[in-house]
Amino acid sequence: MALKDAYSQALVELGRTNPSVVVLDADLALSTKTKRFGTMYPDRFFDMGIAELNLMGVAAGLAAAGKTVFASTFAAFATGQPYNVIRQSIAYANLNVKIVATHSGISVGGDGATHQMLEDVSLMRGLPNMRVFVPADGPQTADIIRLIAESPGPCYVRLPRGDTAILPGVYPTELGKAITIRDGRDITLIGCGTMVYETLRAADALIAEGVDPRVLLIHTMKPIDRDAILKAARETKGIVTAEEHSFYGGLGSAVCEVVSESHPTHVRRIGVRDTFGESGEERDLMEKYGLTWRHIAEAAREVLKA
């Protein structure tokens, strides 16, 4: 199921139950799926056109006037273009704006590097007052949208362009809490978003080789679940992180920050290695840029051998 469809449905449900919810988009409502909310609640939906500085400034103004604001567009245009507006008018002001961006990561595909945002988590994580979420499947997306609507303050939610598989199991969503999909003693694999599926496949491959991996799913990049990470650092031999994001500044960096200060641990970060993307089919891109279960499993073997 496409996570943006889950977002769209969750928004419509919020529109029904929460009269203070207002939704903004920047000429991409058909792609981000906020259009559905707009059709059902036209008085509370505003397309701001291809003008993302104003998109975020207007979001801040609406929030200052007491609204619960969801502002959507593609990740590159949601975080890069209006970064200073987000910083000054939303984060520093601590206003109730939820920036929900779709089309994050390299899996955007044919549109190429300008549309493949690989630094958004890094940018948003660095802002005080900004909470950052990377849901892994449709139900988790719906939960996060519902929960943050009840929790005032700036939030960034990163969604991919396409589908992800629904997770094999029911995992209650608690903001700020990592999910232990599989306990284990040898090595910890931590995945987020679209890479959770790849992380689970890597775990299967390792299990077949006699390894006992712990698998964590982290959806809250900030505030990150330090306890779960440190527990894994203490109880396993090392950590491999996986994200459809630059290996600078995202999940991998966040995990390194936590363990380095408290329980120095060998960490390998699977992510895009400081390059821009390019046009291509999703599977080809994930393979070429090192974002598959094979890369995760190989990194795990290297940590175990070291």
Binding site: V22, D43, R44, F46, M48, G49, A51, L53, N54, M56, G57, V58, A59, A60, G61, L62, A63, A64, A65, G66, K67, N84, V85, Q88, S89, Y92, A93, N94, L95
Partner: protein, 295 residues
Amino acid sequence: MATQERLLELEEIALDLRRTIIDMIYEAGSGHPGGSLGIIDVMTCLYYEQMRHDPQNPKWEKRDRLIMSKGHCCPALYALLAKQGYFPEEWLKTLRKINSRLQGHPDINKTPGVEFNGGSEGQGLSGAVGMALAGKIDGSRHRIYCIIGDGENQCGQIWEAAMAASHYRLDNLVGILDRNGLQIDGPTEEIMSVEPAAERWRAFGWHVLEIDGHNYEEILSALEKASRVTGKPTMIIAHTVKGKGVSYMEGTLSFHGKAPSKDELVKAHTEFDISKRRLEARKQQAMAAAPSGGA
């Protein structure tokens, strides 16, 4: 329309506020006197005559709101808010000092009466658009005022907001362009021309009025006209003198962002005293000339 007496009262309040602005900035050792002095007349008219608001209830939902998008002129805002009782006057001497409730640029969380963060030029008008949209959603008749600078008029985001305001027919939104002709590196027309300003705002779908930003009749008349415009936002282009009221600051670049020295402070107060006496004389004349006045 306000009486002669009332206009003079407002002038007197503004003169008081000019003192406060200069004292505040002197005490802080830094700040932006030029622009603050230039816009204080417009702001006095807004807060004392035009806007519906309640200093005891800064979050009153139906209040009119003012956004200082031109955030560095916050000394003018702080002086007004203090005088009207939004916060204790003692705060004024803490401007720009550590732990202060009065930040160097407006902080929505630290200071009662501040409606939006300011300081990074170009963002406040978008905030005003957001507030105006909220007003439309709620069917409320309160109004949003937003002061922008003419240097700030160079920001792309200002024009994004301008487009949106007219697209969404935000007739509850009034912009005030503080047209003093100067920015930091020089006159606006030398740095990055913003003329023809009125034509540009009209082209973006705004109703445009132009006034002398120090003439109280013109200020109040424009605000009143703006309140009757329907279907589009209004931009009042207020021609002002940067540093108005302190002779050595008027029309200069140097007092954009510099505090006066001790000697300069004394000179400013001497000039304020003279202005005060002249104002008193005009008040006497007005009373004598009034039909019901005099003996």
